[in-house]
């Protein structure tokens, strides 16, 4: 029997190294999968076929890293057209990308790069998001990123910027708690302050991953298990997000399916525990 009750919906990323396992349609503790959109845009073979099979058994989110919403030169219509086709095929419950730029129009840098938090960027993002949503005929959710530099032209904090962006675009949010933790550490702010100031009612998905500490800084490499500092933050916000889909994210050093599944189970336990804590508090 699956551990997860309907209230605690913890999923994880869909990784090519797990295709063979998932093709056997095993019973898993995973409530849903997040698929990296770009991997499937040009595929007609195994990747897309596995995605379609997984979709028959699980809800699916499409999480992109290549829309390049922060590109001052605008968006690729070809990318949006292919994503639209993919959305029609797999009917995801959320389509998301990042508050970031990922290259210029003719050179993909395959990284989530930080944007200045100012009026010009808000206008670029709003224009690009408007185009994306009209082409995709789907609402977009936006995820926060980790950053290792900041800009002199910032004239608001990251949480003010994210709040203003949701206000202007009507977009929902995907909350990456590991990126919040990373930025709080590197840019010296309190992660709880960040969470207090973003519009939590717009959050539709929460991601957990593994930043690593090197020297005095945190790097959101998503290459390790979810570390204690992120679990601690997750426990603190659990009562506020336990109704939301939660994802265990991993981008590098993809382990066995069962290893990631352990983090899925752990997240489900924490969510259930957060309910118990709150109920006992009410009784007192």
């Amino acid at each position: 029997m699956k551990y997860q009750s309907s209230s605690y919906r913890v999923g994880m990323g869909l990784h090519p190294s797990h295709y063979s396992y998932l093709e056997q349609r095993p019973a898993t503790e995973v409530a849903w999968f997040a698929a990296s959109s770009e991997k499937y845009l040009d595929s007609r073979g195994r990747a897309l076929e596995t995605l379609q099979q997984v979709r028959q058994d699980y809800p699916l989110a499409l999480h992109g890293s290549g829309m390049n919403l922060g590109n001052a030169e605008g968006l690729h219509l070809d990318y949006l057209k292919k994503l639209r086709e993919l959305i029609e095929q797999v009917e995801p419950f959320v389509v998301s990308d990042h508050v970031a730029w990922t290259g210029t129009s003719h050179h993909h840098l395959h990284d989530l790069l930080p944007l200045p938090h100012n009026e010009e960027t808000l206008q670029v993002l709003a224009r690009n998001i408007d185009l994306a949503q009209s082409q995709l005929k789907t609402a977009l959710a936006l995820e926060n990123i980790a950053s290792y530099v900041s800009y002199r032209s910032d004239d608001m904090s990251e949480w003010e910027f994210i709040s203003e962006l949701t206000c202007r675009t009507g977009c929902n949010l995907v909350l990456d708690l590991s990126a919040v933790m990373t930025n709080a550490h590197n840019h010296h702010f309190d992660p709880l302050k960040y969470l207090e100031h973003i519009p939590m009612d717009r959050v539709v998905q929460v991601n957990l991953a593994g930043p690593i500490k090197q020297g005095g800084s945190l790097y959101n490499t998503k290459a390790t298990d979810v570390p204690n500092i992120v679990w601690e933050l997750f426990k603190q916000v659990a009562p506020r997000i336990r109704h939301l889909p939660i994802a265990i994210e991993r981008e590098q050093n993809i382990p066995e399916f069962s290893d990631l599944e352990m983090d899925v189970i752990k997240a489900s336990f924490i969510l259930e525990n957060s309910y118990e804590v709150e109920r006992s508090t009410e009784l007192v």
Partner: protein, 254 residues
């Protein structure tokens, strides 16, 4: 500074980490992390991601060269070839040609062919699972005097002066000297998808030529005419049986 200018400078800095990030006057360090260290993170991330993408596609080339030499060659290739595809996994379509032109490969003769083979394998793996014409229907038509064959998308013929498939079969083994593998014989391969699996089958070089001509759209009698002395009626039948059993025939027209 306009956002587009900032982004172009930022990009240059990621690609050339030896440049001075102070030139991007709009940037400041995050906390204690100096700008040059931050850019080293972005530069390394870029190089590592593309190198990993190349190592997934060109797994046997990596096996032959070893990590140090492979990474070194990738770093130079990445410097010379910007990534233009959304999907990281599509990076490196020109890597086989690059391998010929770099002196770094120390004259390993089969490297370009091996890389081209791995690229073709990837393309076939990414093609849709085929739905070939049922054997009974093919058989009926193959008895006709002349016909044209349309092949499934997930099929390719690969010809080389070297036994690249011998090297490829060993790619999962622990690294040892590639000289120990018998790679010196020419080979012709039929690579195709059967159900969801990619098959690699050694075929006769003349059969390979005929298949390539059929693939170009020539009729069976046109394709066979250039090899009349070699392709007896029995051998021709055997070739069509092979194609039929492999399940690579999408359609046959009279």
């Amino acid at each position: 500074m306009k956002l587009s200018e900032v982004q172009n400078l930022f990009k240059k800095q990621i690609l050339a980490p030896q440049a001075d990030p102070q030139t991007i006057t709009d940037l400041k360090p995050a906390g204690h992390l100096p700008l040059n260290e931050a850019f080293e993170v972005y530069h390394q991330g870029y190089t590592n991601r593309l190198t990993e993408a190349l190592s997934r596609t060109y797994e046997t080339v990596l096996w032959v060269l070893g990590h140090d030499l492979f990474n070194d060659i990738c770093a130079r290739y990445i410097e010379s070839q910007p990534s233009v595809a959304f999907n990281l996994d599509d990076y490196g379509s020109t890597f086989p040609e690059y391998l010929v032109n770099t002196s770094k490969t120390k004259g390993i003769p089969f490297l370009q062919d091996l890389a081209s083979f791995e690229r073709l394998y990837k393309e076939i793996d990414e093609a849709a699972t085929p739905n070939p014409l049922p054997i009974e229907q093919v058989q009926e038509i193959l008895h006709a005097r002349n016909f044209k064959i349309r092949f499934i998308d997930a099929m390719g013929v690969f010809q080389s002066m070297y036994s690249v498939s011998e090297l490829w079969k060993r790619r999962k083994e622990p690294p040892y000297m590639y000289e120990d593998v018998n790679w010196g014989n020419p080979e012709s391969l039929l690579i195709y998808k059967k159900d969801k699996r990619v098959m690699v089958q050694n075929i006769d070089p003349v059969d390979a030529e005929v298949i390539l001509e059929l693939q170009e759209g020539k009729s069976a009698s046109e394709a066979l005419s250039g090899y009349a002395d070699l392709m007896t009626p029995e051998r021709s039948q055997a070739l069509f049986q092979l194609l039929m059993k492999a399940g690579v025939i999408d359609d046959v027209t009279l």
